[in-house]
Point group: C2
Chain length 199, copies 2
């Protein structure tokens, strides 16, 4: 039988991560104090340091939470047994939408590399969104849909292009129009690669 203590433990841990996630999203990593986080979770720093080794570890827990949810969305978007090209386009739409989420944008794209260090951030991304972008690009190359380019670099560049596009949307005065522009432009880039493959 599941102990009562385990319930409490998991609950406090989740409350800490939730509180951290919200505050990191709103005020950023440096702008969020541990006191604010534990107050939001209605616990004290003792609890925080019992569950996490420090502020950075808590950030990574929030990071993992965001990325896991993101990966679910993206995986659903590119799933199915249709042609690789169609699924890639669906993935682009889904990723652009994802990058409009404040949590994903701030925690994963902006603060992630700075807080965790770029190398560690890169390793984490391998298991999450970037991993999916990479495998999608690999599928496109495999299917002969796009040019034979270096996989790793091509995926990185596409990933950066998508992120930059999402930031352009978020920072735009007319997000709707910007979102349409971004999708159109990314598709144009992919189409350019496609024609090159065909020719």
């Amino acid at each position: 039988m599941r102990s009562r203590r385990v319930d409490y433990t998991e609950s406090t841990r989740a409350a800490l991560v939730d509180s951290a996630l919200e505050l990191f999203t709103r005020r950023g990593y440096a702008g969020t104090s541990l006191d604010a986080i534990v107050t939001g979770a209605r616990v004290t720093k003792g609890a925080l340091y019992h569950h996490f080794s420090g502020k950075q570890a808590l950030f990574e827990a929030a990071f993992d939470l965001v990325e896991t949810a993101a990966l679910d969305r993206l995986t659903a978007a590119v799933a199915g047994d249709g042609p690789a090209w169609e699924r890639a386009l669906a993935g682009v739409e889904a990723y652009v939408g994802l990058c409009l989420e404040p949590s994903y944008q701030r925690i994963v794209i902006h603060e992630g590399p700075v807080v965790m260090g770029w190398e560690r951030w890169r390793q984490a991304e391998e298991r999450f969104s970037y991993g999916l972008v990479r495998s999608t690009v690999a599928a496109l190359i495999e299917a002969g849909e796009i040019e034979r380019l270096p996989l790793e670099v091509t995926a990185r560049i596409l990933f950066g292009a998508l992120s930059a596009g999402a930031e352009a949307i978020a920072g735009s005065a007319d997000p709707k129009a910007a979102a349409a522009d971004v999708t159109k432009t990314i598709v144009a880039v992919l189409t350019g690669m496609r024609r090159a493959a065909a020719g």
Copy 2:
């Protein structure tokens, strides 16, 4: 006649910015204390707060210094009266090389958006590297070299692609090979757009 005192003033200010630039590059913004900066500049915090309103203002001064040097390099690379296409390719090469500079990568690409806030960073970039990318893209569209795509978004996406490519190079085990891959891939993207324009 220029007063000796003015020399001293400018010298201390420059020493502060130089010290900050070096330390921010090596240990990042959060990892650099004002004490370390003023020690490196052989002054005290009194001098720092006389010349700058705070740590963030000092960061922006270092940011401006890096970006000004970067803009000089890029401007020289894309200068000349050759065809827009050739000049754009030269710009790509120059920008990839630029992103390999630790200062540019860390201060402008990584920490800039986080420390200054994305909106302010974006405004600053308008006057520097991104502004040049944007005008280069505009020139390509103007010359009919590439597809007619939304200028702002296309420039943003290309900028992001270049930055991501540069990061891939810096984080690679074989930077030389990665640099070649990045240049090749970016050129492939542009070429794809070019064929689209022709077709």
